[in-house]
Amino acid sequence: MIEMQDVSKTYSNGVTALSRININIEQGEFVYVVGPSGAGKSTFIKMMYREIRPTHGTISVNGINLSKLRHNKVPLLRRNIGVVFQDFKLLQTLSVYENVAFAMEVIEEQPANIKRRVMETLDLVGLKHKARMLPTELSGGEQQRVSIARSIVNSPKVVIADEPTGNLDPDTSWEIMNIFDEINLRGTTIVMATHNKEIVNTIKHRVIAIEGGRIVRDEAKGDYGYES
């Protein structure tokens, strides 16, 4: 599903964020990416949806070789990848429904499909009854659920989440994790960068630890391994 071979990234200011990364993530896996701040987690994750390109090595996602992918084909790659952020990135002037529908409209889906699929997805994240509300009228956890709904509404094969519980209190974080588990159970690959020790140690999944731009640990059903 996601394969990296000998991947390195050096930024134009000379900072090396990643060096010689080799990794293979199978379809349907749930992977935590852990490590101290500034270790290269963000770079690692952003490379998967080609927000950042490696200076060396090859990455392939869903069978597409990203280093050979032409610029105008990137949108097609992104349609198979859902992305969730710590700060939700919702459009404040649009309702919950419109925020989710937006992701389908801009890739020119049929209106009839949009309506059905958005309601289905909002039901999955438990927000069907709040479809008409604005993001500002929701709690942080609810806003994150809207953003998750938006990331999966186009049925991507993989969801990449960058600290999705970073801004949420513990109780809410568990709710969000339950949703990710639900999505994973339906066959979607999930890659999640996180600092949340309890979650990683309780809901056991594969753990990839990155330190100083290198993978220092990669274990199935691993531990968080750091003092939080």
């Binding site: 949806y49 949108p75 992104r78 992305v83 990135k89 801009v106 890739i107 186009n154």
Partner: protein, 306 residues
């Protein structure tokens, strides 16, 4: 069946782009107003300049057609000498026509052109003091002076005259006003484009998050660009409306007034309203659209690294 679905989808997408572009026009009210005004001022000047230049050009061609060299033949020349001279002039490059006009005809013309006062010249019919003349026309009126000088050096030529000074002056005035106008207009065009690209830059900044999400969920680059492209187009077209209205109606109402005066005093005709003004309107509209599109492309390329 499948084809139909695709075309339906395209139309719907297009409607969405149009809706979005109008939304940003109203959202950035003041910037919209500023850019439309800039285009308006620019095109108004372009329009007025165009009308004046085209008419001046028309006058120049009319006058140019009248530019001729009058070769006064030496009184000592006999028929053979005249034939020889005519042949020599004909051998110069760039000659359109040579017409012989005997001195009797010259006197007639003189008397006619002086009207009542010409009567007194009739006395000269007995002993005509004028010369026989070759009237020479050149293919390119700007060559007139050069050719006149060459003819003047030939044998049997007493003098070669053309509208000395006047012709050069007219050409100079035309050239200078053309250049000054062009510089002015190019400067204004850039100002208008700069303002439009700034307006669109503001739209892009205001919609940064929207654009970010569109890119994340896989909207194509052209899908993202279209609304901005259309916004630029509307700004340009909106800016062209007032100049077209003003220039057309001004030409329509001033035409008769100026025309009457010009014909009476100078025998000069203006360019007819139809189709000139319609062509001019089309030019202004296209220029407005081009300024708008160019302005938007500049900012989109810079600020939307998609």
């Amino acid at each position: 069946m499948k084809r139909r679905v695709i075309t339906d989808m395209k139309a719907r997408t297009f409607r969405r782009h149009i809706r979005e572009s109008f939304k940003s026009l109203t959202r950035n009210g003041w910037m919209t107003f500023a850019s439309v005004s800039a285009v308006t001022v620019t095109l108004l000047l372009v329009g007025v300049f165009f009308v004046i230049m085209m008419n001046l050009n028309r006058m120049a061609t009319t006058i140019e057609e009248d530019v001729e060299i009058r070769v006064h033949i030496d009184v000592a020349a006999n028929e053979k000498d005249k034939d020889y001279l005519e042949e020599k002039i004909g051998q110069l490059g760039g000659i359109k026509s040579i017409t012989y006009s005997p001195k009797e005809k010259e006197l007639d013309n003189l008397i006619k052109s002086l009207g009542d006062r010409g009567e007194s010249f009739k006395l000269f019919e007995q002993d005509n003091p004028l010369n026989d003349v070759f009237v020479v026309k050149t293919k390119d009126p700007t060559d007139t002076m050069k050719i006149a000088k060459q003819i003047e050096k030939m044998d049997y030529v007493s003098s070669a005259k053309y509208g000395q000074g006047k012709v050069e002056k007219l050409f100079n005035v035309l050239k200078i006003s053309r250049n000054v106008g062009l510089v002015l207009i190019i400067g204004l065009l850039f100002t208008a484009m700069f303002l439009i690209s700034n307006t669109i830059k503001i739209t892009i900044v205001a919609r940064r998050r929207e654009i970010e999400i569109m890119r994340l969920v896989g909207a194509t680059n052209s899908f993202i660009r279209w609304p901005f492209f259309l916004e630029g187009l509307w700004l340009g077209i909106l800016g062209a409306i007032i100049p077209i209205a003003v220039v057309s109606s001004a030409y329509y109402y001033l035409f008769d007034f100026i025309q009457a005066k010009l014909i009476r005093e100078h025998f000069i005709k203006l360019i007819e309203f139809n189709p000139f003004v319609y062509q001019l309107s089309a030019v202004l509209l296209i220029m407005g659209a081009a300024i708008g599109i160019w302005g938007s492309l500049m900012s989109v390329r810079k600020f939307l690294k998609v």
